[in-house]
């Protein structure tokens, strides 16, 4: 982050402009918005400093596209930032891949269930992937009436009907998925 501060105390002597890191194609003087009259471009001017030297993508548009992390902006307490950070890292790196089998299909698939936000989301993706109809979940009847019913193996090794528990709980306990034929699944739905 220190490279963001171009210390140009002897600006006229050292011609630091020549070596200044910025966004934008070489040869352009003022990338991004032209500030209106009366505004000097500051030493750490938000839209002319590239904090990641490899991002020379020639992006001359609004600075909200930069991942600029100027120290002190946005003015959020570092305590607050630290509280949120661990979660962010977790969310970005871990994906939860589970095998999906469908009765009658010749091979299995694998999906990342973390990508989905809710049951309807997941089920429509499964319907899409396997070209089948799973239908709508109901607490009483399960997927009764549908051609297929989605089930999953949980941490304890039991086969459960998809949809009974809260989504977050499902994500953390699902080990694999199996799309059962409706007729076979009747047993699960009737409990």
């Amino acid at each position: 982050m220190e490279m963001a501060r171009t210390v140009t105390c002897y600006e006229s002597d050292l011609n630091l402009k020549a070596t200044e890191l910025r966004l934008g194609l070489p040869g352009t003087d003022e990338p991004g918005k032209q500030p209106s009259a009366g505004i000097k471009s500051n030493k750490r001017a938000f839209n002319t400093v590239a904090l990641q030297p490899d991002s020379e993508k020639g992006d001359q548009h609004s600075c909200s596209a930069t991942k600029a992390q100027v120290v002190g902006w946005p003015p959020v307490q570092s305590y607050r930032k630290n509280v949120f950070q661990p979660k962010k890292v977790e969310a970005e790196t871990a994906g939860i891949y589970v095998k999906v089998s469908m009765d009658g299909a010749p091979y299995l698939r694998k999906i990342d269930i973390k990508v989905y936000k809710s049951y309807p989301d997941l089920l429509s993706a499964l319907e899409d992937m396997f070209k089948c109809t799973i239908g709508v979940y109901s607490e009483r009847e399960g997927y009764d009436g549908s051609e297929y019913a989605p089930t999953y193996e949980d941490k304890d090794g039991d086969w459960m009907l998809v949809g009974d528990v809260p989504w977050e709980m499902f994500i953390s306990s699902c080990k694999r998925l199996r799309i059962m034929k409706g007729s076979e699944a009747k047993g699960l739905g009737c409990l």
Binding site: C9, S36, K40, A45, V76, Q77, E168
Partner: protein
């Protein structure tokens, strides 16, 4: 002077009714005898800058002090602009109070460095110590907390807000003796480590006067349920983890316990949350006056909205921007008693996309007639919106608006935001605190100097065009106490125009501006009662500093005790 014929006891009795520091300070300046009576009867002292005075002088003026509030680092330290080890140590204060026989009962610290040694000394030295409140402090571990728990026999309040505390895996909570039943307030939400849950339950059970309890993220929902069962008298609750199978017996018990907690007015926490469990707290929402969900990223937009629909009596709301403009519309139509709103950004490491815009703020301003304090992080704002907000809310005391892009113009007109903020200061005649952001020229400062007569604190970043900007503020804002400026083109002309002004203020911070070392030296030379500190983290000092050298960070504050003796190497006091 009639009052001079009253015996001191009468004067003292009258002064007891004055609760604010400002009033007591004013009273002490009336005449010598009032000064004398006031100083011997003052029990609560507030020191806004711990380096403005030293403990010996303080205690000699107020020998009967029982409650001390101290603030250390400058505000911008919150945003990593001040290097670690800058200062703000509380140890010398505690040491002095011990030596001079102060009967300390309350200590409130903000942005100070608190060591375990200081906590141990504190705990062993003051027999009637009752209340410790630490806000945004650092330097201590759970060992220090263990000392407080073990030794402060009459402890009523242990309130830890947003501190960086090293967890030593001790059992600090178990250090409260079985005989401790005096706790009224316990807040350990910022602790990262485990606590013994059985110990916690027993502690809560025996402290019948417990009013405020804020748990950390490791305390699970079933412990919460047991605690609520034992403490139905709670007024303020911070939930830890709020995750459970919604169809469980535990959740039913929780619902029953909540029914009995009819006094809860303030709710916070939910550091981990399963949204399906939230309906359990709806009964609590009806009477809530304060709700802080700004540390609950697990609650999504629609659940937030459902919850807020129950909160008709809310006066204070701290929330994440996941609520969105539409959600703020729901707040506006539901929370008619709302006085304070803070909307924090949830996406801190991404590309910087806030989920709220000026629309949300406008809705709130239209729907909440009692609104007087706002902190709002948003994607963008327009002059038109700010003008509307100003018209709707002439009663703002605090107004802080942060656009995620600090130099963004009005997206509709492409103009600077001068007119918008100008409208705010013109309309809100009682405005005491203001933070600006967005594209801003000297014009906004002209407005601030002209209209912001009650302004005490101003925060500026990436704003202004010439020295005139800063001059308008220094010349105009008679009540200015704290001015903090980053990345703005203000230089020596502005800095030196009226250096006497700085003695009327608590402090001035300027970083990444245009002020030079020479100008800072000038001030230091002419004003012995100002400390001018330069923070230099690079190697500027080694390469024989020239007075024309631009100063990266300057912190200037009035002080009655001269240069501080605990400044680290990178701080140079001129």
């Amino acid at each position: 002077m009639m009052m001079n014929y009253f015996p001191d006891e009468v004067l003292e009795h009258v002064f007891n009714f004055l609760t604010s520091h400002k009033d007591r300070n004013a009273v002490s300046m009336v005449c010598k005898s009032w000064y004398r009576v006031e100083r011997f009867s003052r029990e609560k002292v507030f020191i806004g800058n711990c380096y403005a005075i030293d403990p010996e002088r303080l205690i000699s003026r107020f020998p009967r002090v029982r409650s001390l509030t101290l603030k250390g680092k400058p505000h911008f330290a919150d945003f990593n602009l001040v290097p670690p080890d800058w200062g703000g140590f509380v140890y010398p204060w505690i040491e002095a109070m011990v030596k001079l026989g102060v009967h300390l009962e309350e200590l409130r610290l903000k942005r100070m460095v608190v060591s375990d040694e200081s906590l141990e000394l504190l705990s062993r030295s003051f027999v009637s110590f009752k209340s410790l409140v630490l806000v945004s402090c650092e330097g201590f571990t759970t060992d220090g907390l263990a000392a407080i728990a073990s030794n402060c026999r009459f402890l009523r309040e242990l309130d830890l807000q947003e501190n960086e505390i090293e967890d030593r895996r001790g059992h600090w909570l178990s250090c409260f003796p079985d005989s401790c039943t005096s706790l009224i307030s316990l807040n350990f939400a910022c602790l990262k480590g485990e606590v013994n849950l059985a110990t916690l339950e027993r502690l809560v059970a025996r402290c019948h006067n417990l009013r405020s309890l804020r748990l950390n993220h490791v305390v699970p929902l079933d412990t919460l349920q047991k605690i609520l069962g034992k403490a139905p008298q709670l007024v303020d609750l911070g939930a830890g983890a709020f995750v459970h199978d919604p169809d469980s017996e535990t959740l039913n018990k929780l619902k029953n316990a909540i029914q009995k907690c009819t006094s809860i007015r303030s709710l916070s926490g939910f550091l981990e949350v399963a949204p399906c469990c939230l309906p359990a707290i709806y009964p609590m929402c009806l009477n809530l006056t304060s709700l802080n969900l700004s540390y609950a990223p697990g609650i999504h937009n629609n659940e937030l909205i459902k919850l807020i629909r129950h909160c008709r009596k809310l006066q204070r709301l701290w929330i994440l921007d996941v609520i969105g403009d539409k959600g703020l519309g729901v707040v506006a139509s539901t929370c008619k008693e709302l006085q304070e709103l803070r909307v924090f950004p949830s996406d801190l490491y991404g590309v910087g996309n806030a989920a709220v815009t000026e629309e949300g703020l406008v809705a709130i301003s239209a729907g909440c007639p009692k609104l007087n304090s706002v902190l709002y992080f948003c994607q963008q704002v327009t002059n038109a919106a700010l003008i509307t907000v100003a018209k709707n809310c002439p009663n703002f005391i605090r107004f802080r608006l942060c656009t995620l892009n600090p130099t963004i113009a009005d997206p509709v007109t492409m103009q600077p935001l001068d007119e918008g903020f100008g409208a705010i200061v013109q309309s809100c005649k009682g405005l005491k605190r203001l933070s600006l952001s967005g594209l801003l020229t000297d014009q906004v400062f002209l407005y601030i100097g002209m209209y912001a007569e009650q302004l005490e604190m101003l925060s500026v970043a990436f704003a202004g065009g010439t020295d005139m900007g800063m001059l308008y503020v220094l010349n105009g804002c008679r009540k200015l106490k704290k001015l903090e400026i980053m990345d703005s083109p203000f230089g020596d002309v502005a800095l030196l125009a009226d250096i006497g002004k700085y003695e009327t203020m608590r402090s001035l911070w300027m970083s990444s501006c245009e002020v030079t070392l020479g100008a800072c030296k000038t001030i230091a030379k002419k004003m012995p009662r100002l400390n001018v500190e330069i923070i230099d983290e690079g190697d500027q000092m080694e390469t024989s500093p020239d007075d024309r050298h631009r100063v990266e960070k300057m912190y200037l504050y009035r002080s009655l005790v001269g240069h501080r003796r605990d400044a680290p190497d990178f701080v140079r006091t001129l």
